[in-house]
């Protein structure tokens, strides 16, 4: 696996999403709607609590990541485009890493829009904006390798739309807890807490990236 091939794969994914941005549009719409509905459901007072606002945001992000990643692989299955890649030498490894990188950028964009919307809708005062940005990045990094891994595992199954959330959500719970606590810490001014949770999220990202690199080429076969 070369960096050149990974870069090509990530660029292909980004270009395809730009040409047919239904994954991005669906994820942003989903996040915006869910944050709005969730905040209405828990009520305006509860929704402005840092812990509640963070949890609402990250629950929406997990589903948005599943949505965008599933859509990306659906596109690969249309017209059997994935076969053209898998038949290439090094295609399996580059597919995982390239897709994960491009989807990380895409989900980060969704997080940016969703985060801005949350701050606006809930009138949140963020005490540590830099720390919040760090936790957001780490949270996205921790989510994507897991979601890509499970989307690939369920790729050839007819019931994949239902299976991916069922398989991925239990594994994503620790990341969800860490991201929620880290975000709440950054909003309420707890620098040490935010950094600690961000570190844990980065560790999750590393572990699941290595796991994905080990499992995905075999799963694609």
């Amino acid at each position: 696996m070369t960096l050149h091939r990974i870069r090509l794969m990530a660029a292909r994914e980004a270009r395809a999403e730009r040409g047919q941005p239904d994954g991005l549009v669906a994820a942003v719409t989903f996040v915006a709607t869910l944050i709005l509905v969730e905040s209405l459901a828990v009520g305006p007072l509860a929704a402005t609590q840092p812990e509640v606002a963070s949890a609402l945001f990250w629950i929406a992000m997990v589903f948005a990541a599943i949505l965008a990643t599933t859509r990306s692989f659906e596109r690969e299955l249309e017209d059997d485009a994935i076969d053209a890649v898998l038949a290439l030498p090094g295609g399996r490894d580059a597919l995982y890493v390239g897709k994960a990188l491009a989807l990380t950028a895409l989900i980060a964009l969704v997080a940016l829009v969703g985060g801005a919307l949350s701050l606006l809708l809930l009138s949140l005062d963020v005490l540590l904006a830099g720390h919040l940005a760090l936790v957001l990045v780490a949270g996205v990094l921790a989510q994507v390798p897991v979601v890509v891994l499970f989307v690939v595992i369920a790729l050839r199954l007819r019931s994949r739309a239902a299976l991916v959330p069922i398989l991925a959500l239990p594994v994503l719970v620790p990341q969800l807890v860490a991201a929620t606590n880290g975000t709440a810490a950054a909003i309420s001014g707890d620098a040490a807490g935010a950094l600690g949770w961000a570190g844990l999220l980065v560790a999750f990202a590393l572990v699941y990236s290595v796991l994905g690199l080990t499992i995905v080429p075999a799963a694609l076969e």
């Binding site: 395809a16 047919q20 017209d79 059997d80 290439l88 030498p89």
Partner: protein, 193 residues
């Protein structure tokens, strides 16, 4: 290895059904035609040679440069035909500057080549995929029902291309129902039951 590719005792199981059982096959330079009724395993055989179908038993040897063109075009939606072919060539480490002329040779004009593939007809997408033969120049070319969806002109061009590849001592494996004229020039016709 004198052969370009080979399967030794290859068994492929999909679900609970063995599609290929203990198949021995050597692919040499020239044309190999694979025939058989629907469901006999023609596609699975080509996918096994391409490394896309896992072998439950047996071994596979394949040329380092193998091109697999399935029944569908295999081009990613959201990208143009030109970008798809440039990506695939670059991924192999081949120069991508032959993409434009190759697409033009297969009847995809520059304007169509730059449009997203989902806006092309099925036949145009198939022709764009066939242009990969000229861009990637592989030692082993696996074609699964390549005459489906293309018009008579493109079919004639494909027949000429297959003969040219055979003349260049490259190996072409074709799974097809029709085109019995291929059998006469083939060095082997594999029949699957």
């Amino acid at each position: 290895m004198n052969s370009t590719a080979a399967l030794h005792g290859a068994t492929v199981v999909l679900g609970d059904r063995a599609i290929l059982r203990g198949l021995d096959l050597e692919i040499r330079s020239g044309v190999t035609v694979v025939r058989g009724p629907n469901g006999s395993g023609k596609t699975t055989l080509l996918r096994a040679l391409a490394g896309l179908a896992p072998l439950s038993r047996g071994t596979r040897e394949t040329a380092a440069r193998t091109l697999y063109l399935g029944q569908r075009a295999g081009l990613l939606r959201g990208l143009s035909a030109r970008d798809n072919l440039r990506f695939l060539a670059s991924f192999r480490g081949d120069p991508a500057d032959g993409v434009g002329p190759a697409l033009a040779a297969w009847g995809i004009a520059a304007k169509s080549a730059n449009r997203p593939v989902e806006s092309l007809s099925a036949g145009e997408r198939k022709r764009a995929a066939l242009a990969r033969i000229d861009v990637e120049r592989c030692d082993l070319v696996l074609l699964d029902e390549p005459f489906g969806e293309i018009d008579d002109g493109a079919a004639a061009q494909l027949l000429r291309t297959i003969r040219r590849l055979a003349g260049e001592r490259r190996s072409v494996v074709i799974a097809t129902h029709g085109r019995f004229e291929l059998d006469a020039g083939a060095n082997e016709v594999v029949r699957l039951a």
